[in-house]
Amino acid sequence: MRSVPFLIGAAVFLTAAVTAAFVVRNEYVFFAGFVILQFIVLATAWNILGGYAGYVNFGTSAFVGVGIYTAVAVFKYAGAPLYLQMLAAAAVGAALGLGVGLLTLRLRGIFFSIATVAVTIIAETLITNWKFVGGATGVQLLRPPPTAPFESYIKMLFVVVAVLVVIAVALARYIQLSGVGRGLRAVRDDEVAAECSGVPTLKLKLLACAISGALMSAAGAPAAMYLQFADPVSAFNLNYSVSALAMSLIGGTAHWIGPVLGAILLATTQQFLTVTISSEVNVLVLGVMLVLFVVGAPDGIIGLAKRAWQRWGRR
């Protein structure tokens, strides 16, 4: 029964997103909103592997880039509609996730992280040399007209990503509360001990990697239509990796709400700064917040809230 408040919350969120798409006139709201929602998905997906299982993935950009380019490829090849682009991206992302999951067989801690950076650069290089999707110069895409109830493509993208947010958060929450989450936490705390007590560590890690990868690539896919342009350098930009990680750490990795809070806080600040100052300041804020939080509040906003709650309770 503890799912009821969550379901109500999800329903309210979706209704608000759809209503906004029909009521709000200003297109810019959706331009900015899309990015914020996209980062909520990325951070939530990152946390499934990085937070619960303790395998720090620096390859979010690989999954985003692969998602974007899967969308580009199926769109160019068959003119696939948006939902098919996202499904295809999710499938490829899950496959890549399994590949990254196999790395965990031999690599732990920082070596796993470095290997995921390697996966990113290798994927980027392969795409750069793939002429069909435009190579290094990138590719222009022409948006088809929006589907029936929506009056503009951006609003449609916004609602689609809002749905993806609900799927991602529901999955993350389910994993956290179920036996899968318990198993992953056991892996994080002591993998050998977990294996010895009969936790199927490899199976769980592969599952976490695949789900996390599928969500990240699915979140990346609509960016192709959002920008109507894709090029390897920005599709595989390291900023995605560091942002997803930073948002999770800033929010707190122990609970599914952490990455959501972190993403809202950081992405909103960044959107605001991009408009008012410049996109460089954006990256600066990312760096400064990341450093401040890992130094000052290692358990993120959740940790701060918990401590405040305890202090308040003692009084």
Binding site: A118, E280, L284
Partner: protein
Amino acid sequence: MFSWELLLDAVVLGTMVGCFYAAVSIGLAISFGMLDVPNVTHPALLVLASYGAWLLGGFEIDPILAGLILMPLFFVLGIALYRVYHETFEKRGSQAAVRGLAFFFGITFIIEVGIIMAFGVDQRTVQAFYIGKSIEILEIRIPMRMIAAFVMALLLSGVLALYFNRTFLGRAIRAVAQDEEALRLMGADPVRIKQWAFGIATAVAALAGALLIIVQPVEPTLDRAYIGRTFCVVVMAGLGSMSGTLVAGIILGVAETIVLTMFGASWAPAISFTLLLIILGVRPQGLFGR
């Protein structure tokens, strides 16, 4: 097109490039290889030093001399960085490496944006008598700037190898790398030794950064290309080996140059990371590892 002459060219030039790669990786070989600090800021520090050399170049100071001038400054900077890292991560223990990695990525971004804000995104170069000319040895044209970097790289690794083998502090640093607990039992303070070693690693990065701007034009986000190269070299060498670093650098340099001449520049970025993945998968302790 394959030809033996091209291959020979690639091997000779690749060896020089490789020694240069070793030079830019030595700092990381100390900080990551010996001290286990996940110092992804290292490449950003290189670029920062390059900008320092460029600034000093405005006063007609030779870039190598500029690198030497910057060394003490970077030494202090390194000690400060290590102090923060130690106080906030190593002391707390749990998940130190992973949170530390996030911390160093944050610092990297701050340095990148700092450089962009101060100097803009344009490429910067320096002037010196050995830049822009080339000489022919055995019918192979070699740019003088590569020779300068090559000689400096050999000198640097030679001096450091002597330092780690012959001096008291150098040996202490190697001891800390091998067994911190044992050192503590001998009555030495491992934290102070590590702090000193991290200072040296950062100072070496200052000189290597000067070599970087000699070898190629520098821009604020150039560090991202060197994350792969430096980590590849250090992991391939086996953590913390000086001569291993030189050999690993040469392997990477030759591999990159051969791919560059056979398949074109667009494949080059993947070389270091592919090598890195293979090494991690097949022989995680590196070629010359303990």
